[in-house]
């Protein structure tokens, strides 16, 4: 299945209405510096994207298959699947791979995911989100998870 690439929203631009971001300085004051690890931003972005109605799950096909196994044995956190981030001193860029429920509007769900991720990452970490790139990797059909009936008795 071909990917639907819904690329690059610059906060403060036309589609950045959910951004609170006017910050461009690092998270630093006279009292000290605050550093937020990439993993924190990854989890916040993953949790907030998964909250959006119409998002079935995050991750690409192979990653989801491997992730299902590794999660069962406790090697992987489902909150980070399908999310990669780049975090600077004051800014963050987020790349998401999502599976959307069949029947939902992909552009609308994508835009809602983008705004939700910007709002939550900026609100929680204080970093300015400069990009949220969303790749819709698959559609979920109800019944996809059900095992196929055997053709023979």
């Amino acid at each position: 299945m071909s990917d639907f690439q819904n690329e690059k929203s610059e906060t403060g631009g036309d589609s950045g209405s959910g951004s609170t971001g006017s910050r461009s300085e690092p998270l630093e004051s006279e009292q000290g510096r605050t550093t937020i690890a990439d993993g924190v931003v990854t989890k916040v972005a993953g949790i907030s994207a998964a909250e959006v109605p119409g998002v079935h799950e995050l991750g690409a096909g192979a990653a989801r298959a491997v992730g299902a196994v590794t999660q069962k044995v406790g090697l992987m956190d489902s909150r980070t699947q399908g999310v990669s981030v780049e975090v600077g001193e004051a800014e963050a860029a987020v790349d998401l791979t999502v599976v959307i429920d069949y029947g939902e509007s992909i552009p609308e769900v994508s835009e809602e995911v983008r705004q939700q991720v910007i709002k939550r990452v900026e609100g929680i970490t204080g970093l300015q989100v400069v990009e949220v790139n969303i790749s819709v990797n698959d559609l979920y059909f109800p019944g996809d998870d059900e095992p196929e009936e055997s053709r023979v008795a």
Partner: protein, 117 residues
């Protein structure tokens, strides 16, 4: 033997930081494999690095795990700094307190442990 030997301002400030972190239910110190700790006599204070700086003040590094559900981290960090400063003031050590740098290493459930890969 004195059960309460006098302690340095560095250790006193490390203890204030430990108390501030322990009182905040939204964070816990990293275990960090022994990378970030302060030795306090026989015990260690995990997740807190207190070091004397060149100007004679004590700089503090807090290495923390934030707990789910996520809350605004900047506010949490400012609260921690304020708590440490208040304790230092009460002990007349505020002038010796330098920067308090904070690193949030991960975001986890509170019962997931404090180790950092």
């Amino acid at each position: 033997m004195d059960p309460h030997p006098p302690i340095s301002s560095r250790i006193a400030i490390a203890r204030f930081a430990e108390q501030a972190v322990a009182a905040d239910t939204g964070v816990s110190p990293t275990e960090g494999g022994g990378r970030w700790l302060t030795r306090d006599g026989e015990r260690t204070i995990p997740g807190i690095v207190a070091t004397a700086s060149g100007d004679g003040r004590v700089e503090v590094g807090l290495h923390l795990i934030a707990h789910l559900p996520p809350r605004p981290l900047e506010q949490q960090v400012e609260n921690l700094r304020s708590e440490i400063l208040a304790s230092a003031r009460q002990a007349r050590l505020a002038e010796g307190l330098g920067r308090i740098d904070v690193t949030i290493h991960d975001l986890r459930e509170a019962d997931e442990g404090g180790g950092v890969a």
